[in-house]
Amino acid sequence: MTQEHRTTNMVRIYQLTLAEAAALIQRKYPLTEQELLQMRPLEEYDFLTFFEQIRPNRRRNFDAAALTGENPVSVPLPHEVDKLIFPGQVRTPGAFCFCSDLVWEIVPGEPGEPARLVLRCEYFCIPLTS
């Protein structure tokens, strides 16, 4: 959560691999706020860009994959498990963020490698100053 000068609502996406998520479940408490803040978001968008451009494209890809049966892209797991992985909310010096969407996904691997299961959390961030 680095760009604290922003004044627009943001979507910041964090991702963990299955192994990383499993390690957090084993230690019995989720990432701390500090640990999350030390990670780089996988992706970061202003809200409208995300919902007007990025997400509709993903939805089209999602629907296309479902039609062809090529990729099972969503793997819901019990919410009790999810709570043990990402912090529900994070306060940075410039924004208040909460985990608004959490989804397990199977993503393609590198060439020659199998697909990977990852957990992605979309944090909706509202700036504290404008």
Binding site: T8, N9, F51, Q89, R91, S100, V103, P127, S130
Partner: protein, 130 residues
């Protein structure tokens, strides 16, 4: 789950959720972040609060009274250009989960520099005068 709601409605829901999450955290600054800088709060049985600093102090007082949760539900929402209005209902809860108040509210939203915020906020209790 990928929502099919239009972006404005999704943003409104995210902002309302942000308010509720900030209250659960006891973060009055996070709650005040959903308001425009020149917002006005019109609570029942009290004076008007103008501007984020005053609004933050109001919500800090609510937190200190032991309110820890506000479950908000939008009943009506319409947007016209850079203004919108929302009618909803809310349940305020104390630390033990006890319902402390049930309210209906009106929020006039304003979009400033592309960002939706609460601009005017008034509510009152559903309960009879004690």
């Amino acid at each position: 789950m990928i929502s099919t709601l239009p972006p404005t409605r999704i943003e409104i829901e995210r902002i309302n959720a942000s308010f509720s999450v900030a209250l659960r955290r006891g973060d009055a600054a996070g709650m005040a972040a959903v308001y425009t800088t020149d917002a006005q709060l019109l609570p029942p049985h009290g004076a008007m609060y103008s501007g984020r600093a005053e609004i933050q102090s109001f919500w800090q007082g609510v937190i200190e009274q032991g309110i820890v949760a506000a479950d908000l539900e939008t009943l009506e929402f319409e947007a016209y250009g850079n203004m919108a209005w929302e009618v909803g209902k809310g349940v305020l809860k104390g630390k033990d989960g006890q319902v402390r108040n049930e309210v209906k509210y009106l929020v006039i939203w304003k979009r400033e520099q592309g960002v939706w915020r609460w601009h005017r906020n008034i509510w009152n209790s559903n309960r009879p005068v004690p």
